[in-house]
Point group: C2
């Protein structure tokens, strides 16, 4: 039987709010089984860009990562946020190691060129190149990898990559040797049928009701790539994928309580 | 017989100048024996502080690391510079891993309180707590640790620490299990008897001529802490300490050519 591995993605408000983050990391560090934390960026990168008068360029609502913006996200994601999380986890007796995709080549990516739009320094992960052995070695040493959403192309170029995608790519790659549970933790209780009502959590989501909910507009915008990543994981060997509130992590893992939305 | 380990500190202009850095990393990645790279910050942190209108506070000529400045140095040192170096090394077939002191707790420090001046978030390394085993494991896995001058206090606080001191602390700690050669690489050919003349390199420096050269003012300012760190290393088990130009690294290690200033 494969050993269990929890891969937890944390993003949005849970990073920006120091108190929420601290409480989340308390829960994370209390988990007895091996864990990997993947973090997004929160609002810090946008705030820093503003302060530096770097214009946020959008095409069709999608952010363009030009050279200046890449430097910002590398500084904020792989530097400030990653190392703050690692230092906090160390203080909670969790032996964290902060990594980006370039470190021991764990996540190689290819500059995105699958569309007519140039998104700049944005990378699509090369799924076959995920360094499963290096990550396994860290886990077997008792380390908790803390992974920032920065990858590299193997030719010396850092790239910006969506943190939800990093979490699902890692989950799929590691499911070859672990029984992987993937948790997308954020500031909502799960996939909501009514965005105004935190009690309207959809307990399970399958491809049929997903298609229906997209058609009716209940699921839209930012949730769609997250859910697409979740389906990608569950269809490619990951044992369980849950979308839930960051505060529910501990109960779900330690007490095996049912919370959030299970993607099936 | 102990295995040889090269610890190389790179700083100043060699980091700011992209061409110099690239050429230095070519040399670094060509070294066959195990290596650790410790990098400083260059001018990037100062430039970013200026752009953000964060005042550089000095007391008696020494920089104060307030909370805002700490965020800047964590972003620039542990983020941008560290990950750029790692990505470049990966492109040169060197399996680099970027680390700060908080990662797997390799370097713990204590907020400096040994003077009446509050230098802010600056840490003095706890020499007994250097995680020799974790670093040894990385080296035995064929990884090249790339270490940024950010430490932590074990209570969740990141701290700014002098990169020269980090290099000598690591060298001393690792000399228990390796035959450590420590190289301080910078933009000068070594310790110069005449700062205007790159050919005036002092071939060797011992405590006697050091005292004399300090008294006569030939060695002053920024060189003093570097040399103090060098003596600290050589007096505590490190096999060889050399202060030299970054461009001389390859010849010194691969061809065993004599260059720079040997501290004896």
């Amino acid at each position: 039987m494969k050993e269990k591995l929890h891969i937890i993605k944390i993003g949005g408000n849970s990073i920006d709010d120091e108190k929420l983050l601290n409480s989340f990391l308390d829960d994370f560090s209390s988990i007895k089984e091996p864990c990997i934390l993947v973090h997004g960026g929160g609002k810090l990168a946008t705030e820093l860009s503003k302060k530096l008068n770097i214009e946020t360029k959008l095409i069709d609502g999608r952010r363009i990562t030009d050279a200046e913006t890449l430097d910002i996200v590398v500084m904020v994601y792989a530097g400030l946020i990653n190392k703050k999380i690692v230092a906090l986890l160390q203080s909670k007796n969790c032996n964290a190691i902060g990594l980006c995709g370039a470190d021991v080549n764990i996540l190689q990516a290819k500059k995105r060129d699958d569309s007519t739009i140039d998104y700049g320094f944005v990378g699509n992960i090369n799924q076959d190149a995920v360094s499963v052995n290096a990550i396994q070695q860290f886990i077997e040493s008792g380390y908790a990898p803390v992974i920032s959403p920065i990858t590299h192309d193997g030719k010396g170029q850092l790239l910006n990559t969506n943190a939800d995608t990093i979490a699902s790519s890692l989950a799929v790659a590691l499911s070859k040797i672990y029984e992987v549970n993937l948790y997308y933790c954020f500031e909502k209780n799960g996939v909501l049928l009514n965005i105004e009502d935190e009690n309207s959590v959809l307990p399970t989501l399958d491809k049929n009701n997903y298609a229906e909910l997209k058609r009716s507009g209940v699921i839209s915008n930012g949730m769609i790539p997250k859910i697409d990543n979740a389906f990608d994981a569950i269809e490619n060997g990951v044992s369980e994928v849950v979308i839930s509130h960051a505060s529910q992590l501990k109960n779900m893992i330690s007490k095996k309580e049912y919370a959030g939305t299970r993607v099936i």
